[in-house]
């Protein structure tokens, strides 16, 4: 619980710093701090593989892309005047409204019933283990459990992902190709 609070505070602080930072590279780095907190939060939920992927893909790959895009747009010369000044009070009001909504939602019976068994008594990982081996004690790891689920129960979504990724490659090439010539 203490760990969760610590991470949550750091994550929220980093998010606020990211939005308010004037320098876009600094913003990007605060986002990395945020990703890092999320990765450790995943660890506390026993999702080791997800935590590692969070760092490798988000902190590693997506942030490099951000850095390249920032340098593409000339770092340090961002417009500094605030064009959205009139929207600030509105943003605060809407943010508070959302917070109240979430708080109210958490009080409804339907949600509370669901939260009651979170974290679940038998984790996803143990469920897969039990299904495969008949007993939850036989050694199979977190990555293996994800693999088994992904490649048996969720084969179709997995293959659809490959099509989505193919489209992403085509999209990236088409978008950048005009400028390359």
């Amino acid at each position: 619980m203490f760990l969760f609070l610590l991470l949550a505070v750091v994550a929220v602080a980093a998010s606020i710093a990211m939005i308010t930072a004037r320098n876009s590279i600094h913003s990007a780095l605060f986002l990395v701090v945020d990703f890092f907190c999320l990765a450790v939060l995943y660890l506390t939920l026993n999702a080791e593989f997800l935590a590692a992927v969070q760092i490798v893909v988000y902190a590693g790959a997506i942030m490099v892309l951000f850095l390249f895009v920032i340098t593409l747009l000339n770092p340090g010369n961002e417009e500094t005047d605030d064009r959205l000044r009139g929207q600030r009070p509105l943003a605060v009001a809407l943010g508070l409204a959302l917070l109240v909504e979430v708080a109210l939602l958490l009080r409804t019976q339907a949600i509370r019933d669901r939260l009651g068994d979170f974290p679940p008594a038998t984790s996803f990982f143990e469920q897969v283990q039990t299904r495969i081996n008949g007993t939850p004690t036989a050694p199979i790891g977190n990555v293996q459990a994800i693999g088994i689920e992904l490649f048996t129960t969720y084969v179709l979504p997995f293959e659809v992902v490959s099509i989505v990724l193919l489209l992403a490659v085509i999209g990236a090439v088409v978008l950048a190709k005009r400028q390359l010539r």
Binding site: I25, I55, V56, G60, G141, V143, Q144
Partner: protein, 331 residues
């Protein structure tokens, strides 16, 4: 964690840090001596017997250099960059098993700092975070050479990370685990994985050299053209931190190669005990690093990109397919 566990972890961490720093110091000497021999000169041999105190002298010299912070740098990032480089380089070693479990002071002590289910991914994650050190140094320095070096480094790292990551998939298929301890055990029971994954080993080695920015892939620094690249504006101990990170990374990728492909701390016969076998294998790969540096000219940037994307990536993919077919046929 109990108190004993914490003490054990602290002691092991200190040993890892001291060992890696020593390896860094003597790797510089070893490299210069071999380079000297290959170029028909002696290399540094004046400070202490056979030049053995040369690294100490270098360290003292760097410590007493002035720390100059150039005008216009982004000060927090400028200081953060070398720290990131060193911390990620040192941390990556955490999951590498260096020996079996020994009984010391009546306590069973496994010879690795940590062993967890996603150990291999941890090393890769630290590697991709290490890239930040270089990119940020390039950005923060307010120097054109540095920025160009930093961005080149980022592009080079991501290009070779794909081939590196893919080359390891074959091993995972055979071992069935991402835990490095399990991978070492798998090789102790059967063949060393270099014998069943020779193509993967070559791809891993080439990509690893590119990932650590060493010759012939040292375009990131390219003295003659970028005057040092991302660390142009760093002096004294701050520069030393980058230098340290680079050499520690070399040791780590060599240790990883030994662990994944060469049987880890197991040897073909029981003459030496675990850690010494691993050390011998690491030195073997580091020697290869130096010999490559002495024999190969630096690649041009388009050649570097072509090697990574046109050759290594498809070859690594082919290796995965071949391994999959092989395992299916054998079963």
């Amino acid at each position: 964690m109990t108190g004993g566990d914490i003490i054990e972890a602290v002691v092991k961490s200190l040993i890892i840090i001291v060992a890696l720093l020593t390896a860094f110091a003597y790797m510089t000497l070893y490299e210069r001596r071999i380079l000297g021999r290959m170029q028909l000169r002696s290399g540094p041999n004046r400070v202490g017997p056979a030049g053995l105190l040369q690294p100490v002298a270098d360290g003292v010299k760097l410590a007493f250099k002035q720390a100059i912070t150039p005008r216009g740098v982004d000060k927090p990032l400028y200081l953060l960059a070398p720290a990131i480089s060193v911390v990620t380089a040192l941390s990556a070693f955490a999951v590498i098993p260096v020996g079996p479990t020994y009984n010391i002071f009546g306590r069973a002590i496994p010879f690795h700092l940590a062993d967890f289910n996603v150990g291999l991914l941890f090393v890769l994650a630290m590697g991709s975070l290490g890239a930040y050190g270089i990119v940020l140094a390039g950005y923060a320095s307010n120097n054109k050479y540095s920025l160009l070096g930093g961005l080149r480094a980022a592009a080079q790292l991501i290009s070779y990370e794909l081939a590196l990551g893919l080359s390891l998939v074959g091993i995972l298929m055979i071992s069935g685990s991402l835990s490095l301890t399990a991978i070492v055990e798998g090789q102790a029971r059967g063949l060393w994985y270099i014998l069943v994954q020779p193509l993967a080993f070559v791809i891993y080695l080439i990509s690893a050299i590119a990932e650590t920015n060493r010759a012939p892939f040292d375009l990131v620094e390219a003295e003659q053209e970028l005057v040092g690249g991302y660390h142009t504006e760093y002096t004294g101990l701050r520069f030393a931190l980058f230098f340290m990170a680079e050499y520690i990374n070399m040791v780590t990728v060599s240790a990883l190669a030994a662990t994944l492909f060469l049987g880890g701390w197991h040897g073909p016969f029981d003459l030496l005990s675990g850690p010494w076998w691993l050390l011998a294998k690491i030195i073997l790969i580091l020697t290869l690093y130096v010999v490559l540096r002495a024999t190969l000219p630096r690649l041009r940037y388009d050649q570097l990109m072509r090697l990574g994307w046109h050759w290594l990536l498809p070859l690594a993919l082919l290796n995965v397919v071949l391994t999959a077919i092989g395992i299916t046929l054998l079963q």
